[in-house]
Symmetry: C2
Subunit: 424 residues, 2 copies
């Protein structure tokens, strides 16, 4: 793979990448599970072996980021030995998962003797467009290989140098496992036009997966002429029902909001039953405030807990990704569900209650990819679901919905076995 | 529902339909299986009861079609008592299927005690855009109800009057079953702009399903700003392998091509191994010719069977939907698979062989929604798969792929049950 786009010929470069990817995908679709696992373990080993080269490349990215960006931004780009080990361990985890390709998802006989099976197969070629964090290069590449897909990676220019080292490790390991190195390719240019070509050229990718901020995702959804697995924002809500266990409610709300405020599974809105607010809410808000969380409440919340700032209408529809929480009193389950379905982003929402009926009603009627009972919304994560890693949390309604791991990067075909049947 | 769009206010009409659909979808998602089945059986009964009104409405459509169209076109619009009974019976079949909503697709515990289930849920609101045939109104409406979705139907203006009667039967039966009549709505105007609004208004539909000719599907895919379940053409191939049973090959090829030439599962291309061509091909082509099929062959076919016309390059990529077949000799399995993956439409392809190894290689490597061994490609049909009815055969790569029945009109959510877990 060339390290630089040939001057003036980005379209030809992308076409070449597409042809290589298509060829690799055909081979990878039939690769034995053992070869794919060997490739992933091999990539983990190479990343550990090449830690010095990776840190050197990352230093260049960090220097560029420092010249351009803020502290949080630089932090996302930066690698250290611990983060590199986590990247390698993630690949080992994915390698150890059951192979998702070839699974018989269903099989049934027909009265005429035909035998019909629905069998998992790879998507084909996946374009992955993402920002900033270099670990996505390894996660996305590793999951694609596991699912038998060829990946075309278009990482953020902020981690251009780090991603190059990671991609070479993946490609070398794939080749050593006897599979086509072009199973993982990187768009070898910072030119933003490459994304446009990826999104709009029919037949180049079978699906595009954007991972990043709102403006990236919206651009991809607007420009894409191929199917997109969309990951929109995570406006997650935790609802404390009147029958909640007080200690559990405190622990879950604090964790759901404050464990990490910048992840998509972080709770942004807290709803609490009016009947329980005086009894439960002050302790919950004291905990949050003690950890530095800003509380914005409706007028009832402000009356109950005067340190709260008044919430604006906008706050109910805002993914803060920060130590800020919007808090509202509701008159029971129906109002809580209506609020979530209207203001939430259909990502992840939780109820805390000891009332099994209320819990089941919430789980059934909240229209989100992930609904939880008595657990933190921060469990919205592929690894926590047992998927090894994830490419993101899909907020679209059609499959794949929720955490997208290797299994979710497969589709299916129908295999019909007959003995000469013709249709009457 | 108004029978006419309010003048000058199509956008408001469509918005109103969208609001009603969204409200109906929320109720339908939780409807018990028995109520949905009662609604579908009720609709079948009402269609049988209202046969006179339906025939009278259809006569108006047929008169308009005769004024405008060709014989085949008029035939697609025309209903008769037998076709009406088939429509009603289709609804009874769908009613009798297992309920696809609420199925537990997977469930597993996590080491931290969390219990995770993947549960089937409806899409929400489905927009269905189709042409000509009035039976699609009943099939699409019935499958949507079964899957717990609200449907917005936009049928061809050619069957406008017939569809109106069918939709009223569905709505009346849904209401009698205690469900919201707005589970099925019809765009009450022939204005083509209504399709544009359906395709481009965010939040109006969760998914759009086009069913019809190539230009309709291409328009939908180009204009849609919501996910589409695409049904492109069916360029199906039957491959006669050198180890094919001669009698079986003759019977399957004849059925695959000639049973009905206008369906998407009809075979358009015949590939046959060079090693078996002299032995098998003449009898196969004699059979086809005897049924009035035009044979277009490559030079080897013409040499073997002189009645064949020379095939053009274009013929390998043409969905004839007519009594025409393109025939080519290939040098074995690899060449056959390469031809199909290059020229086919990833819809339905079959191999005829007594060699189990060759069959399995074909089934694994042909990249189509449906692959068959020793059976006719005309089995590409939801009812033949046991789905009761179908909305079409999806040729897209992401799910749903292949025949789209009620089960395929559902997505899933993750239901996570905890006991106070917080994420470390």
């Amino acid at each position: 793979m060339p390290d630089q786009a040939r001057e003036g010929d980005l379209a030809a470069t992308m076409r070449d990448i597409g042809v290589r990817a298509r060829r690799a995908a055909a081979l990878l679709a039939e690769a034995p599970a053992s070869a794919k696992a060997a490739a992933l373990h091999g990539a983990a080993r190479k990343i550990r072996e090449r830690i010095a080269a990776l840190l050197a490349a990352n230093a260049k990215d960090v220097a560029a980021a420092e010249a351009a960006g803020t502290g949080a931004f630089v932090d996302r780009v930066r690698l250290d030995p611990k983060r590199i080990e986590a990247i390698a361990a993630g690949l080992d985890d994915v390698a150890a998962l059951p192979d998702p390709v070839g699974r018989e998802l269903a099989r049934w006989p027909r009265p005429n003797g035909l035998d019909i099976a629905r069998v998992a197969v790879p998507f084909g070629v996946i374009g992955i467009v993402y920002e900033a964090r270099p670990n996505v290069t390894a996660d996305a590449g590793g999951l694609s290989i596991k699912a038998g897909n060829a990946a075309i990676l278009r990482g953020g220019s902020e981690s251009f140098e780090s991603s190059a080292v990671l991609v070479e490790a993946l490609r070398d390991a794939v080749a050593e496992a006897g599979l086509p190195a072009d199973a993982v390719q990187r768009v070898p240019t910072r030119d933003r036009e490459a994304v446009g070509i990826l999104l709009s050229t029919p037949g180049l990718c079978d699906v595009v997966v954007p991972r990043g901020g709102k403006s990236l995702i919206e651009r991809v959804m607007r420009e894409a002429r191929v199917p997109v697995i969309a990951h929109l924002e995570g406006l997650c809500t935790t609802y404390v029902h009147e029958a909640a266990d007080p200690a559990m409610a405190r622990a879950i709300v604090h964790n759901a909001k404050m464990r990490r405020v910048s992840v998509c599974g972080a709770t942004e809105t807290l709803l609490i039953d009016r009947a329980a607010a005086a009894r439960l809410l002050p302790a919950i808000l004291d905990d949050l405030a003690a950890s530095g969380c800003e509380v914005r409440g409706d007028s009832f919340v402000v009356a109950l807990w005067p340190r709260a700032k008044p919430a604006s209408e906008q706050d109910w529809s805002t993914e803060f990704l920060d130590a800020i929480i919007a808090v509202k009193l509701v008159d029971g389950l129906d109002q809580a569900i209506a609020h979530i379905n209207r203001h939430g982003s259909h990502h992840t929402d939780a109820i805390v209650t000891s009332d099994a009926h209320a819990a089941e009603a919430f789980l059934a009627r909240v229209d989100s990819a992930i609904v939880l009972h008595n657990a933190s919304t921060q469990f919205a994560d592929g690894a926590e679901f047992g998927f090894g890693a994830e490419i993101g949390i899909s907020t679209q309604r059609l499959p794949p919905r929720g955490p997208v791991g290797a299994e979710q990067l497969t589709t299916y075909k129908y295999v019909v076995r007959g003995a000469g049947q013709i249709r009457p």
